[in-house]
Symmetry: C2
Subunit: 339 residues, 2 copies
């Protein structure tokens, strides 16, 4: 088994920097689009054989150093009794607006409600046994709650922030329930075979530092604390979090994901040098020529040179129009220049 | 004339903190909605009498300390030969994709192409003469160019960033033309009577510091340098710019606008203490009860206490669903607690 990824997460020595990319099983891959011509997105993540197939695609094609379960961060919402459809972004049938809405949030057992997730993890875990580690994931509680309140992805998540200011207790009630389910959800992924867990806090960057600590950081940390005893590397990725770095240092993860906005050495300094970092090439770099991609990869590796641990990644998900040969050029550049 | 706003911009002593809010003439006001029931958005900003009427509405209702011209940041795109419709956000008929597209960008004279803007400024300037100053505005060159490239507001402006990485010379050609027109556009507003100019760099926060300096800051600074001799306060507002503060210190404006993500005293420190600041209450605070609004206003004023100059504002435009009485409560709290 190639354990470069796990060692980098644990800040142990590595021969070269491990690399994977967010949304690596996705629309930029012709073999993924071929599967999607046969089945819809929902069927894909609900069918363990299909989720396994697309999860493996970027491992087979590029030799990525980690696999990440193909799924969606709204799956735990299904486990809590919400109807989610994809159109193409997620839409929640009856978003949370009042305290009576909160009472219909079920703090259920994800293994009973969404068993397909753990079946996919088990199957992947078997198929990947002698290859690379499998990363399980979930939305961080604030980000999942934001979807449940907003009903869909929006530009500024105004309904959610309105609730934080106007009805903070209601927001805490929602977050507490989401956190309980998320704790169970990630623990079950680890029991099924996931060897690392990443929490995506995609909307935390909309909050000022005080709100962030009260409504986002606190609940992400609860999930990490509950998962700590399972002894797998824990990764926290809060997009657009340059203004939150000081608070982020208290997240309780082992690895912090960073987008392209702040150079990795600067992120590490702000976090007190205690974390391995994951990131942070701008996904739009992959539209440039391979020579430019290579020079940007080298610049990122250079900024990461003195980190306690570095997992190369993009600063956000790979974009659907990205040329596959440019992803290959990026992976090759990481391999060549990080030995 | 109440010149609190101009004095705060110039870092001169004031009896109390001046206040206005971005999008203060907008959908949250019943009197604005009444006008919009009669005419469309395009007619409204293209008709000087109507633009004047709605610009004055928040001055009449709340006694704001500055008026800002009712218009749209895409008006200079019309002056350059683009067809813009609002649906409801702006959509550009034929966005820029190649160097041949760039050749159809006309570096025209805005006073000939969009005379209604300057007629509205003249009329407002007469009607406001003994009341409050009038702020003229434009999109900063990067942000206007991003709309011209993207064709509409999008989440991450991927096409634009793709161009910056893959075809930087083409991006510079576009930005140079946009900058020339923007220089003329803001100068003509000042000649027509605008007493301050604000550039909105709404999408600059998507860039890393290196790209920001090369493609955004440099062109905003060119506009400020060209406008400097007209001797009016110059305001630069880059949303979501916590990671750009060090670069921002070179923007060449007198006042820097800040969103809610970083406390004002921290923003001022990072900018070297040389700027008056404008901001930065989270617009979502206005959904809370008046007592909560008051305590948030006091916290903002407290953070701004030692600044060389402070113009109270929101950290982004006021939201359409905001209760008008909450805006009144905010204005009243600024007046009461900043003497």
């Amino acid at each position: 088994m190639n354990d470069l990824f796990l060692r980098a997460c644990r800040r142990e020595p590595v021969e070269r920097t491990p690399v994977w990319i967010m949304r690596q099983a996705g629309r930029y891959l012709p073999e993924y689009r071929a599967v999607r011509e046969r089945v819809g997105f929902t069927t894909l993540y609900r069918t363990p054989e299909l989720a396994t197939e697309v999860t493996l695609q970027p491992i087979d094609r590029f030799g990525m150093d980690a696999a990440i379960l193909f799924s969606d961060i709204l799956v735990p919402a299904e486990a809590m009794g919400f109807d989610v459809v994809f159109n193409p972004g997620p839409v929640i049938d009856a978003p949370l607006r009042s305290s009576s809405d909160v009472r219909r949030m079920r703090v259920s057992d994800p293994e009973e409600e969404v068993p397909f997730v753990f079946e996919a993890v088990q199957q992947l875990s078997r198929e990947l046994a002698d290859r690379v580690p499998l990363i399980g994931f979930a939305g961080a509680p604030f980000t999942l709650a934001a979807y449940l309140i907003e009903g869909r992805g929006t530009k500024n998540f105004d309904w959610t922030k309105r609730l934080l200011f106007a009805e903070p207790q209601l927001a805490h009630d929602i977050l507490d329930r989401v956190t309980q389910v998320t704790e169970r959800y990630v623990a079950a992924q680890v029991r099924a075979g996931a060897q690392a867990i990443q929490l995506f806090d995609s909307w935390a960057g909309l909050l000022d530092p005080a709100l962030y600590r009260e409504f986002a950081l606190r609940y992400a940390r609860r999930v990490f604390q509950a998962t700590r005893s399972l002894n797998v590397p824990l990764i926290y990725f809060a997009l657009n979090s340059a203004h939150l770095h000081e608070a982020l240092a208290g997240c309780g993860a082992d690895v912090v994901g960073a987008d392209w906005r702040v150079p990795l050495d600067e992120v590490s300094r702000r976090l007190g040098g205690r974390f391995a970092l994951q990131g942070n090439l701008d996904p739009c770099v992959l539209f440039a020529e391979p020579a430019k991609i290579e020079s940007c990869v080298r610049a990122t590796l250079e900024q990461a040179r003195d980190l306690p641990g570095h997992v190369f990644n993009l600063g956000h998900g790979v974009l659907p129009q990205t040329p596959v040969e440019h992803v290959a050029a990026m992976v090759e550049a990481v391999r060549r220049h990080s030995r």
